[in-house]
């Protein structure tokens, strides 16, 4: 019985920490998108499609960033290509 309780506890321990890990990832992602124009997610997806016509890349192989400076914005695009 005690052992069962212990095992159950161990499994439960995970549920709150799983929640924490998932939240840290999604919140970081959300914060990246803060202040970005609404078209960014679509732009990211379409860019990924174009790249995929030529090279097979993963969903998370693309990283897109919009930085605003004084009078212009810089669109930064990072794509990790698989080793050929």
């Amino acid at each position: 019985m005690k052992l069962l309780d212990f095992l159950k506890r161990e499994r439960n321990k995970e549920s709150a920490s799983v929640a924490k890990e998932r939240l840290q990832i999604i919140v970081a992602h959300q914060r990246n998108q803060r202040g970005q124009p609404d078209y960014m997610p679509l732009l990211e997806r379409e860019l990924l499609e174009v790249i995929r016509r030529y090279v097979e890349v993963d969903d998370d192989a693309i990283n897109i960033n919009l930085d605003s400076e004084d009078n212009c914005s810089v669109l930064e695009l990072n794509v990790t290509l698989p080793r050929s």
């Binding site: 439960n12 549920s15 709150a16 929640a19 924490k20 939240l23 840290q24 919140v27 959300q30 803060r34």
Partner: protein, 272 residues
Amino acid sequence: MAKIIVVTSGKGGVGKTTSAAAVATGLALRGQKTVVMDFDVGLRNLDLVMGCERRVVYDLVNVIQGEAGLSQALIRDKRVDNLHIMPASQTRDKDALTMEGVGEVLDELNKQFDYIICDSPAGIERGAQLAMYYADEAIVVTNPEVSSVRDSDRILGLLSAKTRRAEQGEDPIKEHLLITRYNPNRVDQGDMLNLEDIREILSIDLIGLIPESEAVLRSSNQGVPVTHDDDSDAGQAYADAVSRLLGEDVPLRFHEYQKKSLLSRMFGGGRR
């Protein structure tokens, strides 16, 4: 000059109205002239939680549209002298509230009160954005649960971008985290996010921690804000949060799991 505080969360059902009512009551009990405003047009409930639903004659939309004066719409609280309630309209559609109209009403209230508490509707649409637009401080109500924490983060993004202070480049809105429905027992079992985790993820200051409590439902049943129930854990926790809002340094309570003694288990005593 009044301090304008928005009570917001993104997600519905986390305790915005309960908290707005409890905090406003707490501030008034501490001698602050306080008005609590319902921004949830079409789904007003603050009047019920405050126990004045039968005394609503005019509402915020009537005032904005010039159909009633401010003093006609303000409802004086039955229990606390310094407290007034401004109900939302139940029948008009959401577009009845305008940015300019809300601004004018707040300007007028500014002259009469120390604190203006804005009870935001759920969501991130117009109503929620209107409720937060003129705020000086924000209380972000969060449950220890993934969807609530994520939505709170979204709201923090809006607070830092779509508000008067942000648009005019003034000092940013002061953001406070209010965790509600906290169950130390489940946290202890590893089944619920603990307050440190939530604070770390959202990275804002904790203004209060309200334990999950039977007193909350009991108080809304009766239309008496839970702050009046000063024997209850939730009532005391809200009073602590109010003290912190007023700048006092109050130690955190109700965040640790109290093992029940054999006696209280047998007789059902202990915390209410």
